[in-house]
């Protein structure tokens, strides 16, 4: 980084590794004492090894790189550390590359030449490094919320909800009909009926029984009043209710000899209290 002359580099305030939450690859002298867990895959490991050659990636010795990688993997395996399969695949490929580089290309050999394989590896390393640099250049740009800011107090769109009312003609007519029907029944004047109040019934009963100590049927007392059919129910109900009250007060006795039979009443004797 920093050697490409891109204007953004002027804004770099922190080394690219600041954006990485994984520890940076260890320095060269410790390389044999770390496991591959610190690397983001075999290409990352290769890139790290290549950087140690301290030359531009175009000038690296791919043969030396392959040897370093294979040695590194061997060391790890000696220490019986589990090595992920992709590191082993890369090791196999690099062993192949090494053999292609060391043995001159035979005529009629259709396999890619060692130089071509080496160029492919170089390309991949350069591309990965380029993407890493790009990531760090992106992160070092003036970013929104870090050096550039949006409106701190945005004025959000206010949404006014306007109701559109829904009603069908049927709803309307139905609502009207229901109301008229409801209103129509209240238009009837209730039939006025003669009602004997309890007080009236009691007074009448008191008067009719008088001082009579004989059992007399209630209907016999009320004979004059029961003539009108419209009043029969209220006369019976009110006088019966009043008679119960008079019994409770100890003024009269009352008896009935059978269910639905006539009710007999008489004035209670004073001495029976």
């Amino acid at each position: 980084m920093g050697h490409d002359g891109h204007p953004d580099c002027a804004l770099m305030t922190s080394p690219e590794s600041n954006w990485f939450d994984t520890p940076a690859p260890p320095p060269a002298d410790e390389v044999l004492h770390v496991d591959v867990g610190g690397y983001e895959g075999p290409l990352d490991l290769l890139l790290d090894l290549a950087r140690r050659q301290k030359v531009d990636l175009s000038g690296i010795s791919v043969l030396a790189l392959a040897e370093q990688y294979l040695a590194f993997i061997d060391t790890i395996r000696e220490r019986r550390i589990e090595v992920a399969a992709d590191y082993l695949v890369m090791a196999a490929w690099l062993a192949y590359l090494k053999s292609r580089l060391m043995v001159p290309q035979a005529p009629g050999d259709d396999e890619p030449s060692g130089e071509m394989l080496a160029a492919m590896l170089q390309f991949r390393l350069k591309r990965l490094e380029a993407m890493r640099q790009s990531a760090s250049r992106l992160m070092n740009r003036p970013r929104l919320g870090f050096q550039i800011y949006a409106r701190g107090a945005p004025e959000p769109m206010e949404i006014a909800r306007r109701s559109v009312w829904e009603a069908s003609l049927y709803d309307l007519l139905n609502a009207y009909s229901i109301q008229r029907e409801r209103g129509a029944s209240t238009d009837y004047a209730p039939r006025l009926r003669t009602v004997w109040s309890l007080q009236d019934a009691r007074d009448i009963l008191q008067r009719l029984i008088g001082e009579s100590r004989e059992w007399v049927a209630l209907d016999a007392y009320l004979i004059d009043y029961l003539a009108k059919p419209s009043e029969r129910a209220t006369v019976r109900a009110s006088t019966f209710a009043s008679s119960l009250e008079l019994v409770r007060q100890g003024q009269i006795d009352i008896r009935q000899t059978e269910t639905f039979g006539p009710l007999f009443m008489r004035r209670r004797r004073e001495d029976s209290r």
Binding site: A153, M157, A160, V164, W165, L172, L173, Q179, R180, A184
Partner: protein, 222 residues
Amino acid sequence: MSPDEDDEIGDVLRRHLRILEALLFASAEPLRASDMASYLGEGVDVAGLLLTLQTQYEGRGVNLVRRGDAWAFRTAEDLGFLLRREEHETRPLSRAALETLSIIAYHQPATRAEIEEVRGVATGKGTLDLLMEAGWVRMRGRRRTPGRPVTYGTTDAFLDHFGLETLLDLPGLDELKGAGLLSGRLPPDLQIPLPFDGSLRDDEDPLDPADLGDPEPEDEET
């Protein structure tokens, strides 16, 4: 003062204004002059700069406004409509509104007291307001009786919404019975009025000029 010095002062002023602009823009809350002073250096006339900035934004789509001791950018008042959007929401009419509307339709011109007489319950002002807002009911005039109550009637939008050509298309008693909407158990004297479609009836006066503002302001929601 030499032109060079003048330029320099201009540059400093511009820089100060830029800083204030950015600070005010990025802040989530209105900023006090004293909050901003520390960004400008000592002895800078923040109040004066703010007034300059305010002038620069005068007449623009966004203005620098003062809120108490603090300052903030706000959308120009006359452009507030840009930040409002209407969303239409279809809702069924409430039973009370439907009942009131149907009574007004048949009994128009109808006063509120008349509506209440048919409904048997008091009609809230809100219900009439809603019907007027929906564009289905209007104030027609005032009844020429004591208290001069407002008379209500339906609108053309009402006819339009309910698919009626004229108010006379509203079904009468026999039709309502025929449709099963009215039962047979009705007193023989029950009548369905013929809605009055004209402009003003004999017993109606035109609305007072004041009516056009606020309908029946004396009436409160019951």
